[in-house]
């Protein structure tokens, strides 16, 4: 028996198949301008007769009517992060359009959370937009900012920051310095936001940005706490959904 967890995020849709012990398949596809079609494609690819229970999460979760249950991304990220890295005290997820801080108790249950979805400047979208202006690919981010000196970005808003960056470029500022400045801006903002919860060590960092060493290091610097992650961190929400689904299927 398998369970299928699908996390419909704003940038990527992630799917995970779970057999009660291990993750046996996982896949992600871009959300695209037609999220409904994308989520269906991913579902069809991972679904089989062996799947006993489907849980959908993420902001687009309701686009999958085939789901047996909808669970919010807060609960799923908490559960998924605890699976990927045992004995964590909190989760910080920087997603494509929001940022979450989740506090877990000793049983790895969610006991408090905060969500920021009103401002793009603290999300993955911000660095994506800025890299586009700098005309550099996201995938080489770590190398691109290695040994650079961060330029302080003072704008509080992603849209205004764009103007600030254009004028920095006009002044001949180094692109790597600018990019590192943006990374610092996102991490500082995220740390201040998350510190409103009484964070407990260690902090698990999930979401697409967790894949970059520079984001992990910078977040650790501002949080002044140990930050852990996992190569599967971007799948934390989908894993949590699959785990919750497996539990539900077992009692069904």
């Amino acid at each position: 028996m398998y369970s299928l967890g699908i996390d419909s995020g704003s940038t990527m849709i992630k799917g995970v198949l779970f057999d009660g012990k291990d993750i046996i398949a996982y896949k992600k596809i871009p959300t695209s301008a037609n999220p409904k079609e994308s989520i269906q494609n991913l579902y069809k690819e991972l679904y089989s007769d062996k799947v006993a229970y489907v849980v959908a999460t993420g902001y687009g979760r309701l686009l999958l009517p085939e789901a047996d249950r909808y669970v919010t991304e807060i609960t799923c990220h908490g559960t998924g992060a605890a699976y990927l890295s045992q004995e964590i005290g909190a989760v910080i997820d920087i997603g494509g359009q929001d940022c979450k801080a989740i506090l877990l108790d000793e049983n790895q249950h969610v006991i408090d959370f905060l969500m920021n979805d009103k401002c793009a400047a603290g999300t993955g979208r911000f660095i994506e937009m800025m890299m586009r202006i700098l005309e550099e690919p996201m995938s080489y981010l770590d190398n691109f900012v290695k040994g650079k000196n961060p330029i302080s970005i003072s704008s509080m808003c992603a849209v205004f920051a764009e103007g600030e960056i254009v004028s920095l470029l006009a002044k001949g500022a180094d692109k790597g310095d600018i990019a590192l400045g943006i990374i610092h801006s996102i991490c500082r903002r995220t740390a201040f936001f998350a510190e409103r919860l009484k964070l407990a060590d260690p902090v698990f960092f999930s979401g697409g940005l967790a894949g970059f060493q520079v984001f992990r290091d910078t977040l650790e610097f501002y949080l002044k706490r140990a930050v852990k992650t996992n190569t599967m961190a971007q799948y934390a929400g989908a894993i949590g959904a699959a785990l919750i689904g497996y539990k539900k299927a077992a009692v069904k």
């Binding site: 669970v71 919010t72 807060i74 609960t75 249950h109 969610v110 969500m115 979805d117």
Partner: protein, 383 residues
Amino acid sequence: MELVKDLPEVFDEFAQQRKNSFLAVKELKEKGTPVVGAFCTYFPQEIALAMGAAVVGLCSTSDETVPDAEKDLPRNLCPLIKSSYGFAKTDKCPFFYFSDLIVGETTCDGKKKMYEYLAEFKPVHVMELPNCQSENGYKMYRDEIIRFKDALEERFNVIITVEQIKEAIKLKNSERKALIALYELMKMEPAPMLGDDLYKILYGSTFKFDKQAAIDEIYAVINQVKKEYDEGKHLSKRPRILVTGSPISGGASKVIKAIEDNGGVVIAFENCGGAKSIEEMVDEENPDVYEALANRYLNIGCSCMSPNPNRYRLMGELIEDYKIDAVLDVILQACHTYNVETLGIKRFVNERYNIPYMSLETDYSTADIGQINTRVAAFIEML
């Protein structure tokens, strides 16, 4: 009095009460009854009732007139203030239109500054509300209540006697007792009805001008709910939520809906429309009616008071008496006093009662319903 209708129909009728009163207020005006418009729970209704005036609530709760208000007021201002000003300015609200006098209090910064502009095109009387519940504060509010009485006497050419005020105090107290008896039904486990339905009655009853008839109707609802409960008609077991914070009627009631759509039930309202404005009686034995009114009204635990111990006290009582599982604090955008107080309330709820707390910032629009649903659903999953 016995109800001839089913409960759902009665709940809906109360929900429509504000609209239904539009005609009633017109008829009252035609009969020569003065109409006094009020904004706030600090408004001593008894004084206006004593002269036979009808009191209407003016706090507006729809984002319809916000763009009109934003021509004069800043954008990042509380939606209640903008909406109210917008309705007054455009005369889209019959209650504003028919009000002979609008009474405001110096509560939050946004409201008291808005009244200055409102007074340019409507008759406005502003009561000076102290910011502290100190001995001097109570004295000052007593004087302000007398000044308000004098203003009514002069404007409407009437005499308001102590006896009339005493009668009004008794009437309002019996209305409070009826409303308390109604919301105390929610102490039952599982809950007898949705918080959404309870709120319809609490809010709707403020727009009934025949107070005695309203009281009779509330008791009839209570009896009906009890009868149905005994017959087994009630909700299934759900997480019991206390709602507190800024006023939540109208546009912001989407939060109540989000809680109840996601499997919770709102057991108690601590906000303006709920326990905060109803819980305490005016002392009928005090021969100084103005002191009795000042003591009761200034005790209200609104965040415009500093410090604000009565909000904590009432919230603690509600958490214990109603077996609350979690507290949801609803903050209207740019409502600074309630927003600042979220930290203290969170500490109080988490540390003293060891139950979860969440605050939500919203306005009267429907733009954030998706986000609100996600947050509220996650909050309830946590319980």
